[in-house]
């Protein structure tokens, strides 16, 4: 699985806030040679199909959302600075002095503007800065900015992927490119095994904006069951063990009233029989992932949820564990190979 990290870093070098998933061209490039069929649907989902060689095989949908959090341009002022709104899921506190990319008619470097400390009064630094009071500097005058940028253009956080200690990695949009990279790796490995399912990989759109992509994809594909991949909160200085999963402890198998009990038990069974590390994440209803939407597609789709633990979610400095990602790949492959077979035979 030596390519897994490369997949992740490549997928995170591009920007695709919810609604602009087509900008993730590296994903198409990686997946195209491996899939039996590849298409993008009306919602913006990228769907890769790998057929089973077994006639009458059931359909499994493997879903990972491809979009990321971002900002959206609301206006341009008389000095050429961009005013913006939160587009999905970013806390204002990470924004001051952040490097961003404005997805205008061509991608533009930008900086979220701040006043220098020399000019701040002591009282100023006690206050949080709200995104409505921030602006983005793209370094052009008003006329040029208005030629290049329009209200409605999206803005993404920018950062460079880096290795940390203990096989942890640091970067932006690991929520949910970590899962996308896992699916690319699964697809690469499916080429050398005989899946017992027809596998429909959905790199879904707009999860960070309510998850309509996964919902419409589930309607079109009409899968017999679905495995949803996302990220979840890892233990950090800000998230204690009661709320977070251990980074490096394996992927978190979701347990929740909305998720299918039999599938979840089967996933845990595969993990145990293959000695794949895992942990559980218990939720009391909705999961805050695509599983909530896929479950109620058509006459219902049984879902299980696998989440990769992640620190500092929705910032340009997210952390995941490569070993958690590898174990997620093993778990999915195990499920697709064995569980499907057991049910059909």
């Amino acid at each position: 699985m030596e390519n897994l990290k490369n997949y992740l870093f490549e997928l995170c070098s591009e920007y695709a806030p919810s609604g602009r998933e087509e900008l993730l061209v590296s994903l198409e490039r990686l997946v195209r040679p491996m899939a039996d069929k590849l298409y993008r649907d009306r919602a913006g989902n990228l769907i890769a199909v790998k057929y089973s060689k077994i006639p009458g095989a059931e359909k499994i949908m493997l879903d990972a959302h491809a979009d990321e959090v971002g900002l959206v341009v609301t206006g341009i002022d008389e000095r050429g600075f961009i005013h913006f709104a939160n587009h999905a899921g970013i806390d204002d506190k990470i924004l001051p002095a952040s490097a961003v990319t404005v997805l205008a008619s061509r991608p533009l470097h930008g900086v979220v503007a701040t006043l220098p400390p020399h000019l701040l009064k002591d009282a100023d630094s006690e206050k949080t800065i709200k995104s409505k009071d921030m602006v983005i500097d793209v370094g052009y005058d008003e006329k040029t900015v208005k030629e290049l940028v329009r209200a409605g253009d999206f803005i993404a956080l920018r950062s460079v992927c880096t290795d940390l200690q203990n096989r942890l990695v640091l970067g932006k949009s690991f929520d949910n490119r970590a899962s996308c990279a896992v699916l690319v790796q699964v697809l690469a490995m499916l080429c050398s095994v005989r899946p017992r399912y027809d596998v429909y990989m959905v790199f879904s759109a707009a999860e960070e904006f309510g998850g309509y992509g996964a919902h419409t994809a589930a309607f079109e594909i009409a899968p017999d069951e679905a495995l949803i991949l996302d990220t979840t909160f890892a233990v950090s200085p800000y998230t204690d063990k009661s709320k977070g999963r251990e980074l490096g402890g394996g992927c978190a198998v979701g347990i929740s009233p909305i998720l299918d009990t039999h599938m979840t038990e089967a996933v845990i069974g595969v993990a145990r029989s293959h000695a794949i590390p895992y942990q559980t994440e218990v939720m009391s209803g909705k999961t805050g992932t695509d599983a909530d939407n896929v479950t109620c597609a058509r006459d219902g789709v049984p879902c299980a949820l696998l989440s990769i633990p992640l620190r500092y979610m929705h910032s340009a400095g997210e952390i995941v564990s490569l070993s958690d990602m590898e174990n997620t790949v093993r778990l999915i492959l195990g499920y697709v190979e064995y569980r499907g077979g057991n049910r059909i035979e």
């Binding site: 806390d91 460079v160 640091l170 929705h314």
Partner: protein, 339 residues
């Protein structure tokens, strides 16, 4: 691309740990000037000119940048730190850093917004509520990589963007270091001293010692200074503007500059057709404050590059301003020979 600026800003040089920057500068300038490193770590360079000097002139820029220092490691292996130099803690969340001599990468973490209470969303995180994560398993593991006292620098990629602008960390004052380096490589009108100083950001520590050694009659400090020309700042002064040329200071928090020297600099700029601007606020301070009152004193001039978002990981300056600042200092030297 301005390769030297890209190189200089890529180096880590939190105040007191300027070694990497010093080595890089010495490599660049040694073929062109007689150099030495003093006890504090300042580089003092002497460059022969065409003529005898009219007076002793010292041109300086500081090598250090604002950053952080590791104060302790928690049982869980997270790093506590304090800021070195003037940093607004509100600009820290989510930023990438490098720690110690080995440049161990890390990130200043922050809670996921999903899990924040309303009160948490509205409150400012102070430096002592922030942690750096290097991916250590626990304290013991972390201490293999880092230790208390390690300095911490921001990591960022250098980018030229917009209308001839550059975005980088540490433009204050690697822009000055780059300008001095270019000047040293030039044919100068008279013998000139250059000083690349240490520890400006924690109180202009190095410059005084360099000035004591050189004992200049005239001091020219080449700096990065605060530009507040951003749009939500209509009510306050913009201090200076990016893209409007080198900034000449008449007064700041630590220095009242020499009026005749300022006049000479403005005349030199006009004669050479170099755009310049006067700093429109009495704010901040730089090495001039120290140099002006060292030994028997020096006439002080500060020529600066306007930098937006100073003291953050994403400073912004104009490449033309940087070139023009170099041209202006060169013009000042030439004009000094004629007076």
């Amino acid at each position: 691309m301005n390769k030297l600026l890209s190189y200089y800003t890529s180096l880590f040089g939190t105040s007191g740990s300027e070694g990497d920057v010093r080595r890089a500068i010495l490599n660049e300038i040694s073929p062109y000037a007689k150099t030495k490193v003093d006890k504090l770590g300042n580089i003092i360079a002497f460059k022969k000119g065409r003529y005898e000097p009219p007076a002793t002139v010292m041109i300086s820029a500081h090598m250090d940048e604002v950053g952080m220092i590791l104060t302790s490691v928690t049982e869980d292996g997270y790093i506590r730190f304090d800021t070195v130099g003037g940093i607004d803690p509100r600009t820290l969340c989510g930023k990438h850093v490098a720690i110690g001599r080995r440049k161990i990468p890390g990130v200043i973490g922050q809670a996921a917004p999903h899990l924040m209470k309303k009160s948490e969303k509205d409150s400012v995180k102070k430096t002592d509520e922030l942690y750096i994560d290097i991916g250590a398993r626990d304290k013991e593991d972390a201490l293999q990589y880092v230790q208390p006292g390690d300095v911490i620098g921001f990591r960022s990629d250098y980018a030229e963007f917009g209308d001839g602008l550059v975005r980088a960390k540490a433009l204050d004052d690697r822009a000055g270091c780059q300008i001095l380096t270019n000047l040293i490589k030039k044919d100068l009108p008279f013998d000139t001293y250059f000083a690349f100083t240490v520890m400006e950001e924690i109180g202009c520590i190095g410059a005084g010692c360099a000035a004591f050694e050189i004992k200049p009659d005239y001091s020219i400090v080449v700096e990065g200074t605060t530009a507040a020309d951003i749009s939500d700042n209509k009510d306050k002064t913009s201090v200076c503007r990016v893209g409007a040329g080198p900034v000449i200071s008449f007064m700041d928090g630590s220095t009242i500059y020499d009026r005749d020297f300022i006049k000479l600099a403005c005349e030199a700029a006009r004669e050479r057709g170099i755009r310049y601007q006067m700093k429109q606020a009495v704010a901040g301070g730089n090495d001039s404050g120290r140099i002006q009152r060292t030994a028997s004193g020096a006439s002080a001039l500060a020529v600066s590059v306007a930098v937006r978002y100073l003291h953050t990981v994403t400073g912004v300056a104009s490449l033309a301003d940087i070139d023009d600042t170099e041209r202006l200092v060169y013009a000042v030297l030439n004009k000094m020979l004629n007076v």
